[in-house]
Amino acid sequence: MSFRLSYRADPGNPWFTWQYVRDNSDTVLAALRDHTTLTLRAVLIATLIAVPLAVVAYWFRPLTGPILALTGVLYTVPSLALFAFIAPYLGIGVATVLSVVVLYALLVIVRNTVAGLNQVPAEVREAAEGMGYGRWGRLLRVELPLALPGILTGLRLATVSTVALITVGVVIGRGGLGQIIFAGFNNNFYKAQIMTGTLLCVLLALVLDLLLVGVGRLLTPWLRGRVG
């Protein structure tokens, strides 16, 4: 009799239950926080490296090819291999995850920033020169603002792919929401756990993307109302 009762009490393996989210809110929220801070730090670091690189590529034309090629090769190297290259030196920790993700984000941001800078019309550049702007003044006051749409496209793509890429960090135990997904898989294939991790990942990517779109609209008021 008791056998049958316990059999009936089998909770099954649904694709999603709020029960799981409620019971494990601490773990899930911690993973989400981890994932979010990792993403923000990675994108920030990548931007701080990539935008100057792009400016160098823009100023010194012969360097454009090598810089794009170098970041392109980094992009071809599989993420897991990048973890394998870096982990023996930086150990198992945040530093390794951050370096891998930053290296990946570089290509997208550099590429789009260079494209954005190249889109600045020659007349505008000449006009700025005629008004007495030096190289730096022109860059900061004219060219970078005009390249903002390109830079923001790069940032958006980098952010979205970073959110997805951080999950690979499970290989060294620092995968943010990836930990939840992977734990669910090892937990007798607990679907609700896997699904919660996945949905949160996609949602995080979506929210950050929308935030960047909002920031972009605030920063480029002159583009408002234009189709694009």
Binding site: S79, L80, A81, P88, A164, T167, I181, I194
Partner: protein, 240 residues
């Protein structure tokens, strides 16, 4: 011993190559899984992309699909698909990888057909060709540089992503890296690094090989378009 020396030692051990589950086994798994995934991706993406391009519709759909797959973590797809009707094992891994092969294939097939000079299309119509004939005899040949570029991007991406199959015990070269991490870095550092070198080497090798093949299959007059297509293919990935 530093990790590099350890890696050299590990790679120099013949048993690490020929043992069951050694490098040669894993390489075979890696290549066969990737090939199946790319093939599946082509079967789905090319007809759809060519048709959408021919009809001149669905540009938004193409962009939407590539953006969506960018946001879904590979790990999630790899863990979810085995729990569906596909079941554990190869099919689920192959389908998961094929999903990531679709965007570059689709985008390039679509652009490949769209970039055909409208006058050429008009001329073909004027000669009395039907819609399917225009697609098969005019647009398809002219789109080949783009198809090849998309194929290359997709193949490299799949080979790179196939390393992650190890998380769901899907085999492939990633297995070497994960086992190395399982040994801890002090002991397995060399194995980790060696695995990384193998995976990266395979990805770069495929990239170079397909670049060469792409050059071979492109007729001389289309070589210039090919270079443009290669750039487009890269753009399709980075989304610009």
């Amino acid at each position: 011993m530093n990790p590099v020396q350890q890696a050299v030692v590990w790679l120099n051990d013949p048993l690490n190559w020929t043992n069951p589950g050694g490098i040669l086994d894993r390489l075979g798994e890696h290549v066969s899984i990737s090939a199946a995934a790319v093939l599946l991706g082509c079967l789905v993406a090319w007809p759809l992309g060519l048709w959408l391009g021919h009809a001149g519709r669905g540009g938004g759909l193409v962009v939407l699909i590539s953006n969506l797959t960018l946001a879904v973590p590979t790990l999630a797809l790899l863990t979810i698909l085995p729990l569906t009707f596909l079941g554990f094992g190869r099919p689920a891994v192959v389908v998961a990888l094929a999903v990531f092969a679709v965007p570059p294939l689709l985008a390039n097939a679509y652009t490949g057909v769209r970039q055909v000079d409208p006058q050429t299309r008009e001329a073909a119509r004027g000669m009395g060709m039907t819609g399917t004939q225009v697609l098969r005899q005019v647009e398809l040949p002219l789109a080949i540089p783009y198809l090849a570029a998309g194929f290359r991007t997709a193949a490299v991406q799949v080979v790179a992503t196939a390393a992650l199959a190890t998380f769901v015990n899907g085999g492939g070269l990633g297995e070497i890296i994960r086992l190395g991490f399982g040994l801890s870095i002090a002991v397995g550092g060399g194995q980790i690094l060696a695995g990384g070198l193998l995976v990266a080497g395979l990805a770069v090798g495929v990239e170079l090989l397909l670049g060469f093949v792409e050059r071979l299959v492109t007729p001389r007059p289309l070589r210039r378009a090919r270079r443009r297509a290669a750039r487009r293919a890269a753009d399709a990935v980075t989304g610009s």
